[in-house]
């Protein structure tokens, strides 16, 4: 498997930290900063953001030595990411419009498809099993405030 990262990973990591730090500092500055003796709500996040950006810079700079770690990372797994993220989003949307039973089925079924060894049939049985648990344990026994079915 080829690595997803072309350069040393620490360049990307450092850049990400600089980005997060500067973004936090930028947003933080939009709140009143105040003085050292009477700090406003913007002081702390701005300070933390600036320090984070500085550390990100240090991470990127110290990456030069190139330990070759980056080569060991396997390719990005689109299938797993797509299934887990898609399944969870499906739970949120279906849960809002359809109720607990279809939402449970959706999250388990879609996530299960993320593993390339799971067949459709196995995913189906697993999801049905979890639907039963959802009804018996969460809806009936724990009295979860979540309608089994909801229309519209």
């Amino acid at each position: 498997m080829r690595s997803l990262f072309r350069y040393n990973k620490d360049y990307y990591g450092g850049a990400l930290m600089i980005l997060i730090g500067l973004a936090a500092a930028y947003v933080g500055k939009s709140y009143p900063l105040g003085t050292l003796a009477r700090m406003g709500p913007g002081f702390f996040p701005t300070a933390v953001g600036v320090i984070l950006a500085a550390i990100g810079l240090a991470i990127a700079l110290s990456a030069g030595s190139g330990t070759g770690e980056s080569a060991a990372h396997p390719a990005f797994d689109w299938r797993a990411w797509g299934a887990i993220i898609g399944g969870t989003l499906a739970f949120i949307v279906v849960g809002d419009y359809g109720g607990l039973v279809p939402a449970t089925f959706a999250i388990v079924f879609i996530s299960a498809l993320g593993d390339k060894e799971n067949t459709l049939k196995q995913a189906l049985w697993l999801s049905l099993g979890m639907v039963v648990i959802a009804i018996v344990v969460f809806w009936w026994a724990l009295q979860l405030q979540f309608n089994l079915f909801r229309w519209g």
Binding site: G13, A24, P74, R79, A83, G87, T88, F138
Partner: protein, 505 residues
């Protein structure tokens, strides 16, 4: 002071033995044990998943249950490590080194039995330390003002992020990210909304459950699905195999004691992770052994000493968490967060204000550890079966439990989205070799750090010198500075060493 502790303990046993509390404690250790045995699930994911359940409970049973989950899952982790060579949880990685060879030699049951006894011994020792050390620490902690609290938190954050494995800089970066996550929500001093971007659900801040589950469960799944290679052949263990002989007990006693002391020492130091503790215990045991060549091929000492170290550390870790309100590692941060959700602020007042909680917790450690010892013997057959549940069935089911669990905390679907966001972020960070645990540490401590920093400077009228003018605070600041220097020096030495190797090859 000692009589007071003993009286408190007596009272605590009364609390722990109340049927209601006992039941939740039993439930905690049982479920914790089960989740700890499951491949890929450690105490952090176990506590995160069950955290929503505690919100409707009285604080005492809630905390007893969470503590039970914690040490229950630790016991569970040892089972996978010894029998199947699966380090379900990083601290147990070192247990695999000698535990699995022992299983291959047919001594797996014995290794498990001895590891459990060693853990029990170590936990008991840790509890004793906790009983007698906590009141002393509390006496000191009452002298703490905002500047002292800030400095000790600074030390805790620095130690927690740099002493674990990996690059110290990245650990610090993750703590800062955690601090920023903690800022989200309404500012307590001015009532201003910060980093909410107009989303009303964020006014109360990011939910602790969402952040913990996102980072430690969903993030893990994203990285491990289709990757995790787990052996599925289990070794059957009978109860009879687990009972050690007298000679074996005698042989294992000294390593257990050494492991216990190492764990106690490191538990008292903030920020030293459990993984580093177990590795040190293993390395030390190999150094003092007369036959170091047996290590890695099934040396019983290499199993009992790290297990003992991890359990005594676990208990001692509760001291700063309960008495100062400063968690030593992410698991403690999670338990601290759970307490704060219950409206209880851990700190020096905890023992006097909530004696039922404090002493009940300590007593329940003992009760819980005895329960575990009794449970593990008959249930060992079931655990070995559970160990063989394939990951591909496990993670979709876990996704459902996570979604429902998070929903149940506030009946809010929005928080499930938070879990997803933190899961994706966590996986990206982990893929870039950043440690995830410090985020949680920063998140839990963030609001307190800011609050005390602001208060200290308000009292000193903006003079930063206040942190080094107060002697206790100065000591912590000095320790933090020392830590940075030591880390920098060892880091540069490390890279130079590596470069040397590179040039040599």
């Amino acid at each position: 002071m000692i009589e007071q502790s003993l009286l408190g303990l007596w009272y605590g046993f009364g609390v722990a033995f109340e049927p209601h509390n006992l039941m939740w404690s039993l439930f905690g250790v049982l479920v914790g044990n089960l989740i700890g045995v499951l491949p890929g699930m450690g105490p952090l994911s176990a506590i995160s998943i069950l955290l929503p359940l505690t919100f409707g409970m009285h604080p005492v049973p809630a905390i007893l249950m969470l503590a039970g989950i914690f040490y229950g899952s630790q016991y569970g982790g040892a089972i996978g490590a010894i029998l199947l060579n699966l380090p379900c949880h990083p601290p147990h990685a070192v247990t695999c080194l000698d535990g699995y060879p022992l299983t291959k030699q047919g001594k797996g049951g014995k290794a498990l039995g001895l590891a459990m006894l060693a853990s029990f011994f170590a936990a008991s020792f840790g509890i004793l330390v906790m009983i007698f050390f906590s009141p002393l620490l509390v006496a000191v902690a009452f002298k703490f003002g905002p500047s002292e609290i800030f400095s000790v938190m600074l030390l805790g954050l620095l130690a927690g992020s740099t002493m674990s494995r990996g690059s110290p800089l990245k650990g610090v970066a993750m703590v800062l990210v955690g601090l920023l996550c903690g800022v989200v929500g309404t500012d307590v001093n001015s009532g201003m909304m910060r980093f909410t971007f107009g989303v009303p659900e964020l006014a109360d801040g990011v939910s602790l459950v969402a952040i913990a589950l996102g980072l430690f469960a969903v993030g893990d799944f994203l990285l491990n699905v289709n990757r995790a290679v787990y052996t599925t052949h289990g070794a059957g263990v009978r109860v009879r195999d687990m009972l050690p002989t007298w000679a074996e007990l005698k042989h294992a006693f000294m390593p257990t004691l050494r492991g216990t002391l190492i764990g106690t020492l490191f538990g008292a130091m903030p920020g030293t992770g459990p993984t580093i503790t177990t590795f040190l215990a293993y390395a030390f045991e190999r150094k003092v052994s007369k036959t170091p060549e047996r290590f890695g091929h099934g040396a019983m000492e290499g199993v009992v000493s790290p297990e003992a170290a991890s359990h005594s550390k676990t208990q001692v870790d509760f001291i700063p968490t309960m008495c100062l309100g400063i968690p030593g590692d992410p698991i403690m941060a999670l338990i601290l967060g759970a307490l704060m959700i219950q409206g209880i602020a851990p700190g020096p007042q905890l023992i006097t204000e909530h004696p039922d909680l404090f002493w009940g917790l300590i007593a329940s450690f003992w009760v819980g550890n005895v329960l575990l010892l009794m449970l593990n013997v008959p249930l060992i057959g079931i655990w070995t079966k559970v160990l063989q549940v394939p990951y591909r069935y496990l993670f979709p089911s876990a996704m459902f439990f996570i979604a429902v669990g998070v929903f149940s905390t506030n009946n809010s679907l929005f928080e499930i989205g938070e879990v997803l966001a933190f899961g994706a972020f966590g996986a990206v960070f982990a893929a870039l070799n950043f440690p995830m645990a410090p985020i949680l540490l920063g998140f839990v401590l963030g609001p307190m750090v800011e609050e005390n920093f602001r208060r200290a400077l308000l009292l000193s009228r903006g003079s930063m010198l206040v942190f080094i003018q107060h002697p206790i605070s100065a000591a912590f600041v000095g320790a933090s500075a020392l830590l940075i220097v030591v880390q920098t020096v060892s880091y540069f030495r490390g890279t130079r060493g590596k470069l040397g190797v590179l040039q040599a090859t």
